[in-house]
């Protein structure tokens, strides 16, 4: 009988990329700008993606882990990540220098349903490292400003030093076509010029048309409950409230099972879920 011919496309095979730029955003979070060594590659890596998708970053000898893409597809060619040093893989990543290699697979995940958001007011609420995936959608919306209604971005951090993309948001605050509110829980150095208090305290500034608003939240697990309550208070429907979740993932393709919640694979059915999903799948948040 005939010999079997294997095609070479293997979605587990990481693709080589180079660190173009890196700098520290906070004490333990670093920004990485990465470019694929072969930009024409479309499989298993493709350079087009949607806001809210993630990639598997692979470092040989250590392993792989998922990281949300923090850059916007409207500025193509580069992938950006915000990475907090928490484990073996991220510690290794922090040892890398500009021009060093790392390996990528993806993009994976559903991403934000941008097409459903067109024409709507957008309300973003970010806490801590949650700013990473939201920045992707925010920059996308700003680059395509006329596609959306009002734009509100609320961002909370523990202290001014812990605020990701602080300078970038200071700049963005100048823009007239979009409202950006920043708050910190504590201000030990006493030079914070904006709001103080938890992120939900910023809801007083929000003026959107609730029936025509897409609300997006990402942050530490404890934050969701309070922020979602505020969305509901505003009158935003469950199906228009989006959250992006974190889980352990080894494959990114709905196979390894480690991100499963109920019958959802966070890596392919998520990481973006609506409040409706969350109400129907126990254990998502």
């Amino acid at each position: 009988m005939h010999e079997i011919l294997y095609h070479q496309d293997n979605p587990y095979m990481p693709e080589r990329a180079r660190i173009v730029r890196k700098y520290d955003l906070t004490g333990d979070v670093r920004f990485f700008q990465v470019r694929l060594c072969n930009p024409d590659k479309v499989f298993p890596v493709t350079s087009s993606y949607s806001p809210g998708q993630f990639m598997m970053i692979s470092l040989p000898y250590v392993g792989e882990a998922p990281f949300s893409i923090t850059s916007t597809p409207s500025r193509p060619g580069l992938f950006e990540f915000c990475i907090r040093k928490v484990g073996r893989l991220t510690s290794r990543l922090f040892q890398l220098e500009e021009n060093d290699f790392l390996w990528l697979r993806g993009p994976f995940g559903n991403g934000f349903p941008v097409e459903k958001m067109i024409g709507k007011d957008l309300l973003f609420v970010a806490g801590g490292l949650g700013a990473a995936p939201l920045r992707s959608l925010l920059l996308y919306a700003l680059d395509n400003r006329d596609l959306f209604g009002k734009l509100f971005y609320l961002h909370g951090a523990r202290t001014p030093r812990d605020m990701l993309f602080r300078e970038e948001f200071f700049q963005l605050k100048q823009r007239k076509d979009f409202r950006c509110y920043l708050t910190v829980d504590e201000d030990p150095e006493g030079d914070w010029p904006f709001d103080k208090g938890v992120v939900t305290s910023l809801f007083k500034y929000v003026k959107v048309n609730p029936r025509n608003t897409a609300a997006v939240v990402c942050g530490p697990p404890v934050m969701y409950k309070y922020v979602v309550q505020e969305f509901i208070k505003l009158g935003i429907p469950d199906a228009n409230i989006y959250m992006t979740l974190e889980r352990k993932m080894k494959c990114g393709m709905g196979k390894c099972g480690q991100c499963v919640v109920g019958h959802k694979y966070v890596c392919v059915d998520g990481p973006v879920f609506t409040l409706w999903d969350v109400k129907n799948v126990k254990g998502l948040i």
């Binding site: 000898y61 073996r88 290794r92």
Partner: protein, 260 residues
């Protein structure tokens, strides 16, 4: 790239782990080629104890004041400290009753007069009871393959992480019949993987020599073994051999509760 400098040391133990490194006969040259070995007294008397180390492998438990001094010294000069073998990782068989009145136990073995020793004895404890341990290689003794894999990653500058799931997984991969179902006193569900389920594959129940996994369900195991007709004493004795300090302590409480 400069060769990583390593040292291989033994505290109180049988030296079986160091011996198993020497038993890696085919790979020994490779090992000596990749690493610059600064101290390995079991293999060579030419040791350089002044040198700072990239990696120190330490076997044995801390059972004397001399052990403790040596360990602190090793820790100070090493970037990465690897606890190697059950004694170093969990305290070894000698630590099974550490929670009890240790002086009484000591007298029981050595008599009323203090035996002549070079250094003051201490209740045996694992390295992590005294110093920061960066990586572990369990086993009594360690196995060749896991050692070579650990050493390989260390040579690449990666700190290895031992998986934490029971040996039952490896046992099933080898398509063994479950010895607990056959009524044997098998410690598999409590014991970390890594050995490749050597004993159960030969029909010999696991005695737990790779040490416990974290948050193992020893209550359920004890319940099951009681159902299978084993006496509390037998179960406790088997548990205690490789259970390490913590579990020995839990077991004592378990025993006390049973006696009430």
């Amino acid at each position: 790239m400069k060769k990583p400098k390593i040292g291989i040391y033994g505290l109180t133990g049988c030296a079986g782990d160091q011996l198993n490194i020497l038993n890696c006969e085919d790979e020994l040259l490779k090992l000596f080629d990749i690493f610059e070995i600064k101290s390995f007294v079991m293999a060579s008397s030419a040791a350089d104890e002044e040198a700072s180390l990239d990696v120190a492998f330490v076997e044995g438990s801390v059972s004397t004041e001399k052990d403790l001094e040596d360990l602190k010294e090793i820790r100070k000069k090493s970037k990465i400290l690897v606890a190697m073998g059950h004694c170093a990782v969990f305290g070894g068989v000698q630590s099974m009753f550490v929670g009890e009145d240790w002086d009484k136990m000591y007298r029981k073995v050595y008599g009323k007069k203090r035996a002549v020793t070079l250094t003051k004895p201490l209740p045996p404890k694992p390295l992590a009871a005294y110093v920061k341990v960066d990586a572990v290689l369990p086993g009594c003794p360690i196995e060749k393959e896991p050692f070579l894999k650990l050493a390989g990653l260390l040579a690449k500058g990666v700190i290895p992480r031992h998986p934490d799931f029971p040996v039952c997984a490896e046992c099933k991969w080898k398509e063994n019949e479950c010895l607990l179902l056959r009524g044997e006193m098998c410690m598999g569900p409590l014991t970390n993987s890594g050995c490749g389920a050597i004993c159960p594959s030969l029909g010999i129940p696991c005695i737990g020599c790779w040490g416990p996994i974290e948050k193992e369900n020893w209550e359920a195991e004890a319940f099951l073994l009681r159902e299978r007709g084993f006496s509390v004493e037998d179960i406790v004795n088997r548990f205690a051999i490789f259970g390490g300090m913590e579990r020995a302590d839990k077991l004592r409480k378990f025993l006390e509760a049973k006696e009430e």
